[in-house]
Each structure stands twice: as structure tokens, then as C-alpha cells.
């Protein structure tokens, strides 16, 4: 890409699919991700998460994604993901096509919370329960979405 086009592209926040060796076989254990260094995420169309933080983390060998923001604005990549778009994750130069299954209930979210708070907040905790609207703290929570990431079909 020519430098002028690259600058224009960055200025316009254009999208481009993640580059790297495409991995077709499913990953049985994602634990390697913790030491994988730079991990990049984009939807299949190449859209990046721009106004939200997207943090993949591994729990019991399975891959999860926490997306969060303190801003009221929407994020196009998050909207695509929630609408069923495939996700691409690049780690160690390899690109994994994934589908994201949104977790919305306590039964789905509670089991991953110990790993989430340890990995993202450096907090060790017990008895964790998803309580998105606590009566004691009305309206002070950041906006969050949780996904389990599985191999893309086909």
C-alpha cells in the first residue's frame, strides 16, 4: 500500500481483513494464548473494535471474549458480532476463524467470572455472581458483553 493511501486509510479508520496463515482445524485448548504476545481481533469483514475494549481470555481451555466500554457510543464491530458475524483472531501469525456465541444469563456467565476478574483486573475472588443491576449501585456499571468463541462452521 502506498504511504498516502495508508495515511488516508488510517485517517478514515478503514477495515481490512487480518493477514496471516488461515487455520482451518479447530483448536482444542487455547491455553497457549496467554503467552502468545500480540493478539489481534477483527470481524470477518475486517472491522476492528474501536470504541470498546475487546479482551479474549481462556477458561478451562475454551476461548471467551469480554467486550466493555464506559462510553455510550455504539461500536460497529460489536454490532456485527452480536448480529452473528464471524470473528477472526490472529495469534502467533495464524488467523483463526471463529463464531461468537453471546452469553447473557448468570448460569452462562458465572462460571467464567473467576478467570475473567483474575485475568483482566488482577483480582482473586470467591463466590462470584453476575449481577448487572445491583440495587446498591444503580446505574454505575460499565457496559459489558460476553461471548464464547467457537470454530466457525465450515
Amino acid at each position: 500500500m502506498r504511504p498516502g493511501a495508508l495515511v488516508l486509510c488510517l485517517a478514515l479508520a478503514c477495515s481490512a481483513p487480518l493477514e496471516g496463515e488461515l487455520v482451518s482445524e479447530p483448536v482444542a485448548d487455547w491455553s497457549f494464548l496467554a503467552g502468545a504476545g500480540d493478539v489481534a481481533l477483527a470481524t470477518a469483514s475486517g472491522r476492528r473494535f474501536r470504541t470498546v475494549q475487546a479482551k479474549p481470555f481462556v477458561h478451562g481451555g475454551a476461548l471467551y471474549l469480554q467486550v466493555s466500554t464506559i462510553l455510550p457510543a455504539s461500536d460497529a464491530a460489536l454490532d456485527e458480532l452480536r448480529a452473528g458475524a464471524e470473528l477472526r483472531l490472529r495469534a502467533q501469525g495464524r488467523v483463526h476463524p471463529l463464531r461468537a456465541i453471546e452469553l447473557t444469563t448468570g448460569a452462562e456467565i458465572d462460571p467464567i467470572l473467576p478467570t475473567l476478574v483474575r485475568e483482566t483486573l488482577a483480582i482473586e475472588a470467591t463466590g462470584l455472581r453476575w449481577d448487572p443491576e445491583p440495587a446498591r449501585y444503580p446505574g454505575t456499571q460499565i457496559r459489558q458483553w460476553f461471548f464464547r468463541l467457537e470454530p466457525a462452521a465450515g
Binding site: A125, T126, G127
Partner: protein
């Protein structure tokens, strides 16, 4: 040559207006720091639990002679007041550690206080569950910051003598 002088004057004027806006009381907005916190100054209350319903407050410290204010999280436990930074390597956290005199603006009211960084593990065990519940929507039976791994810091806020 005249255009060059005009351009320089325009840039200087904009810089001056920006500095006046920043340090003169425009106030912090989201991630953008500000200057003087204006508002009615009141004596601090004995019980800060009313801040449970308040997500963010403004904290004013100073950089050299200039006021420097930011938006941050506020936590209360057993009526005591704490402020927190997700990342401790900030201008304002270093300034507060150097000079504990702060002004807090909560719901438009300014309180002149002292803030001291908390290193006590017992206080950490009180504050970590508040952080999880208030900001993450996660209730916990017990929680503690992992020593040597947490990047954030917490300050206990007390009245000035």
C-alpha cells in the same frame, strides 16, 4: 510575510485560549483532563455512602503551579471514601502521592480533602468487592487485589485537619 505573522498569531491565540480553557475551569471531560473545579465548597459529610449511586467524580490536584483535574471512580465502604485509578501510572496519581491535598467534585459540590494511597491488604479486601460490584456488576463473597499484578491503585480520602 504578513501571512506568516498572522498564522503564528492565530496559533498562539488558539494555544492561549486552549490553556485558559484547560486550566481555567473548563473541567475534565471523560479521558480529557481539565483545570480548576468550580462549584459550591462544602464541609465533608461523615458518611459517604451516598456516592454508591455516583459512577464518576472529578479530582483536582496540581502540576507545578497549575491545577490539574481528572475524572475517576469513587468507592465507599462503611461510610469511608476512596478514589481509584485503573492504572496507577498517571499524572494525577503521581501528583497526589507527592501532595495529598485534593479537591473533589461530587455531583457539583466541591470538597477539600486529603488523599493517601492505600497499601493495607485489609483495606484491599474491603475495596476489591466494591470495585467488582459497583463497576463490573459482579457480586463476590470475597475479593482481593493480587499483589504484584494489579496495575491500579486506591486512595483513602479524608478531611483536612
Amino acid at each position: 510575510m504578513r501571512w506568516l505573522v498572522r498564522s503564528v498569531l492565530a496559533v498562539l491565540t488558539l494555544a492561549l485560549l486552549g490553556a485558559v480553557a484547560l486550566f481555567g475551569g473548563l473541567g475534565p471531560r471523560a479521558f480529557v483532563p481539565g483545570g480548576v473545579l468550580w462549584g459550591e465548597v462544602r464541609e465533608p459529610p461523615a458518611d459517604w455512602s451516598f456516592t454508591d449511586a455516583i459512577g464518576e467524580i472529578q479530582v483536582q490536584t496540581h502540576v507545578g503551579p497549575l491545577p490539574w483535574s481528572v475524572t475517576t471512580w469513587v468507592l465507599s465502604d462503611q461510610g469511608e471514601l476512596f478514589i481509584a485509578a485503573g492504572y496507577c501510572e498517571r499524572v494525577w496519581t503521581h501528583r497526589v502521592m507527592a501532595d495529598p491535598k485534593v479537591r473533589l467534585r461530587i455531583d457539583g459540590v466541591v470538597y477539600e480533602m486529603l488523599a493517601h494511597r492505600v497499601a493495607d491488604r485489609a483495606v484491599g479486601a474491603r475495596i476489591a468487592p466494591v470495585v467488582l460490584h459497583k463497576y463490573m456488576g459482579i457480586a463476590a463473597d470475597s475479593a482481593q487485589f493480587i499483589q504484584g499484578e494489579t496495575k491500579g491503585c486506591v486512595f483513602r480520602v479524608e478531611p483536612r485537619p
